[in-house]
Amino acid sequence: MKCQIEITGLVKRFGPNTVLDGINLCLEPGERVAIIGPSGTGKSTLLRCLNFLDRPDRGTIRLGDLSVNAARASRADVLALRRRTGFVFQNYALFANKTARGNIIEGLTTVRGWPQAKANERADEILAQIGLADRGDSYPAAMSGGQQQRVGIGRAMALDADLMLFDEPTSALDPEWVGEVLDLIRRIADGRQTMLIVTHEMQFAREIADRVVFMEGGRIVEQGPPEQIFGRAQDDRTRAFLRRVG
């Protein structure tokens, strides 16, 4: 298996607690991987460490030709890694002082130095893709949760990232908005975007993922194709978890 993205021996401690206890993970180009597991097992921390929102204590993260050793990561390493990964937050975290369009183009103009006109063209495409072509000038406070999260996804899409990270993208949404957000993620997944999704939506994980990873206690317990994990899981802990949520 050739890895486009390779995570090796990732460790993260918060004080005396080891939240990630040596995570190894390999993603092939275009692969869609869903991470499931009980609350507090480090799923979100894993995603946050990949983007250095939480700084991992040890391990390496390789994205294509960019390899970052967590223990020695320089400021430049961290920026390079972030510029090649898109992050979608559970609580949307849209820039409150920017419109939908402003949120999408910020990474293009400020970070990549694109001219305004070119960034606006890209924003038009993305606004159309996320179904908000007519809401470009709306501020986050004036949008529904579903619309905000679609803009959050649009902002991550604008980066043309090697890897998109979704941190429980529907957990904060009212039930009525979950469908439209999942539909959008599904469409992005159809475009063979490499993605890592932490989710509690088991049906969604089963349907969208090429591979499902079950995590507990800061470790990967079991992984495999969805039909294997959801149908004939090998580990007792996986089966126990799926019984509880299923």
Binding site: N51, F89, A93, F95, A96, N97, E106, V111, P140, A141
Partner: protein, 224 residues
């Protein structure tokens, strides 16, 4: 009790009005300089920049802990005795420097509070798209903090306009100094100081209207 000499007061209006530009000049220059300095001080404190953080803490403590009048006297009368470069300093410059340093210490604390009030997720979102520390402060955090800090900063500006009157103790003839001179000649102290008080009042009230407009425009991102 004698009646107010209203005719004298009316005569004074154009005289005092002639000094309004100098008062506004000192206040506006000091305000712009203080805003810039205060933003830098606040950022140093928020980011806990090693060493500088301690220096800034002492700076803020000193300028908040001593009276503005004392600070002005230090700059105008005191420092030139030991710093030769400052011997030629004029009253207006000394007043502007004093006002800038004094108010920047207060403003730094309210800007710091406003920055800390911006939700953590805004920092993370900005980091996640690869912004540098400077970019995220300039583009995301400071604009949002500005909305929170605006009412307080405007109050400091108003306070600063009134504090320019202390410049007359450094020999500057501004509004207050002019009123003092007029009164010394006419002995009509009540009339002279009443006129200058009304001038300050009108300037401050005019600004309050501007303040409300500014807050409305800064709040448009959150208005539904």
């Amino acid at each position: 009790m004698r009646p107010l000499d209203t005719a004298y007061m009316l005569d004074l209006v154009p005289v005092i009005a002639g000094y309004v530009p100098l008062t506004l000049f000192m206040a506006i220059v000091a305000m712009i300089a203080a805003l810039a300095l205060a933003s830098m001080l606040a950022i140093v404190r928020v980011l806990r920049v090693p060493v500088l953080d301690r220096v800034v803490a002492v700076f803020i403590s000193f300028f908040r802990g001593t009276p503005l009048l004392v600070q002005l006297f230090l700059f105008y009368f005191g420092l030139p005795q030991v710093v030769p470069a400052m011997t030629g300093i004029n009253g207006v410059t000394a007043a502007i420097i004093g006002l800038t340093l004094h108010f920047s210490a207060y403003m730094a604390e309210s800007i710091r509070g406003a920055i800390l009030g911006v939700d953590r997720s805004q920092w993370e979102a900005a980091q996640s798209i690869g912004m540098t520390q400077g970019q995220l402060l300039r583009r995301i955090i400071l604009p949002q903090g500005a909305r929170t800090a605006a009412p307080t900063l405007m109050n400091y500006f108003i306070d600063m306009i009134k504090s320019t009157s202390l410049a007359f103790t450094l020999g500057v003839t501004e509004m207050m100094g002019a009123a003092q001179k007029e009164a010394a000649g006419s002995f009509l102290y009540l009339e002279a100081f009443l006129v200058v008080a009304i001038f300050y009042w009108i300037i401050v009230e005019t600004l309050s209207v501007g303040q409300r407009r500014l807050e409305t425009s800064l709040g448009k991102a959150v208005a539904r």
